[in-house]
Every structure is written in structure tokens, then in C-alpha cells.
Symmetry: C2
Subunit: 206 residues, 2 copies
Amino acid sequence: MTYDRLLEIATEHFGAKGFEGASTRKIAADSGTAMSSITYHFGGKEGLYLAVADHIAARIAERQASALVAAKSGAKLTRDQAIEAALAMVESFGRMMLAPESAAWSTFIVREQQAPTAAFERLYDGAMRAVVERLVALIAVARPDLDAQAARMTGILLYGQALILCVGHAAVCRVLEVESLDAGMQSALLARLRATSLCVLSEKPE
Amino acid sequence: MTYDRLLEIATEHFGAKGFEGASTRKIAADSGTAMSSITYHFGGKEGLYLAVADHIAARIAERQASALVAAKSGAKLTRDQAIEAALAMVESFGRMMLAPESAAWSTFIVREQQAPTAAFERLYDGAMRAVVERLVALIAVARPDLDAQAARMTGILLYGQALILCVGHAAVCRVLEVESLDAGMQSALLARLRATSLCVLSEKPE
DNA sequence: GTCTATACTACGATAGAC
DNA sequence: GTCTATCGTAGTATAGAC
């Protein structure tokens, strides 16, 4: 379908070059269709951009769905269970950050973070909110010594560890002295992510 | 000087909108000069872009200089000294990430990370390398249980915690339920950054 | 060094054929 | 639904006056 193909290609282009950098002519050409198809299906460049935001949010949501289910919310958890569930969420996020698709997503999202447009609301409400809130709730159980705001901040910082794997991709490769992150390096990174997160989550409340 | 003014304004524009999104016309206009001044001083848009990369690298380097000096390299440090020096470096980086100027830098750098151009070399060699290598060396002292590669990964992850404060700015505000990060919130974030980093650095080698 | 002029290319939008 | 054709705008680069 032309609609889907345009959406897929547009995700790559907007992710790689940003809103202004991407060209509707090139998006249409790479999708094997005419530029006016964008007008027909999405109303214009801006409509296409917003559709891409929804698309990214949906993809992220479905990828994080399993981690969310595993970290069941309502149930009372022991501290060890909460720690394990939080680790699983951070690791799941890190795994997504290492996946090749998310390279396009991350630049898209980071741009929206710095200068939020209407697309940011869709990204946050569609994908981020549920994941962050769940992790924060688990941290509150794992670290009863932290107040609510400190638990939120800790959640942010833990996700930051995973985020750099994608957002700082070139620097990560440089520091590790590799050309790209092969499967072995990826699992080593995820293991380290889990280990450092465990240090934070299992800190003994004195 | 026209040269300096162009450089400063260009840093903002490229940071906010990326290479393709920024317009030499607008950069020149905001600098109060003619567009052809860019050709004269920088040879064209691309030359200006590379000059901005050098400019950002220099600014970062000078900001991190004090943290680098404090974490003196050659000297033998005790574990506690290494931990304290590493904490100071992470905190210094976090402080920079919270500074308003770095908002423009971060998007510039993140774009380069995902799709590195010649500008990335300048950023990495000019600013990042020294800071990362110093932190990794300190981690090696603080955590003798980690091998060299694990120490590198840990350094990356610690910097990731600080990076999200800038790169995920909009989401951070959302999670903390504030409009912007005032001074109190900033120091609370830095305190938490220090606390979680301490958890990782002071982990007892069994 | 800095400006004005202009040349040329590429952009997004839209109208209308099919 | 998809295409071609065209319009107006905005982009960078460059030549030449001062």
C-alpha cells in the first residue's frame, strides 16, 4: 500500500534529517510514488510528520508491551521482585536502543525533546508515559528510602544509561574501540547496564 | 566582529534545526550581515558548519577543563579519591547538560552521532576523548573488579545518566511535573546523579 | 571586509488528467 | 488513488561595486 510505504520511508527520512531537512520529493521518490500522494494521504508535509510521530509511538509501545506486562502494576511486590521487574524494564529499553530501527527514532524523538512540537505530545502520551511511570513505581518499592520526586529522578537517570547507547552511538563505538556494535558487544553492554542498574536499585536503605 | 557573531548565531541555528534545516540567509540576517559574508569567512555553508563543530568542541573543553585538572591523571589515587574524582567529573558533565547553552550543542552532537560527518571527528578529538578516557581511568581504580572493557562501558553508562538531562529535556520536565527546571530542581537532579553514580562506583568488589 | 545583484536549484503546494 | 505539470517561494553560490 502506498500509504504504508510512504509512512515507512518518511520515518527514515525525518529521523535522519529532521523536519526541514527531509524532502517530500525524495520521500515520494524513494517510496516509488508521486509527491502529490503525500498531499492526498496525509494532507501535506506536516501531516506526514505527525503520522510518523504516531507510527514511532506505536512501534515503541508494542516493543515495550511485554516488559510492561511482566512488571504488573497493581500487585503487591516484594523488594526483590520489584528490583527484578525494574531491571527487566531497563534492559528491555536498552535492547530497543541497540536495535537498528531505533536509530531513526531516537533522532526524531531527541529533536522533539529540545524543541517540542505537536508531535511530542503524541510520542509522550503514546509511548513514554506508561513506561516511565511503571519504572518509577517499581523504584519506589525497591528504594523505600527515596521520596516520590527522588524516585522519579532515579527512573530518569536509569533510562539515561540506556538512552546513550542509541543517542551516543558513534561515541560509544569510539570508546569501545570497535567499528560497530556486534551481538557480543551488545549483550556485554546490556549486562553492564543491568549490573549498574542493580547497584542503584539494591542500595541498602540504612 | 562579523566572524564571531556569525559563528555564535550559526551555533544556535545549526543546533536547533540541523544542517539542512538551518538557512544561511537567516543566519546572516540574525547576525546583522549579508549572506555573502559566510562565503567570505567560512567558504560556504559547510565550512561554517565545521567551524561550529570546532567552536562547540572548544566550549565543551574549556567547561570540562576544571574537572579534568581536579582528576589529575598520573598520580596514584586511593579508591576513595578516585571515587570522589569520578563523581566530580560526572557532576560537572551533568551541570553542563543542564546549562541552557548546551541545548543547542546537544542536538548538534546527537545528530553527528547518528550520522557522523567530518564534524564528528572534531567533536570527539576536541572535547570528548579526554573526558571519557579520564573517567574510565578513575573507574578502573574505583572498581578493580571490572576489566578494561567493562570499565569503559560503565563510564559510558554514567555519562548517559547526565546526558538524558539535556537530550531528554522535555520528557524530564514531564516526568517531574514541572514546566522547566529551576535552580532547585537542577541541584536536586545533580544530587541524585551523584547518589546513583556513587552506588555504582562504590559497589564492593567481593 | 562587507554589501547588492543575480543566477540557479530545490522546495512544498495545488490543479487537473486519467 | 495516482500521476504530470506548473506556480511561487526559499535555498546556496557567485560576481562585482564600494
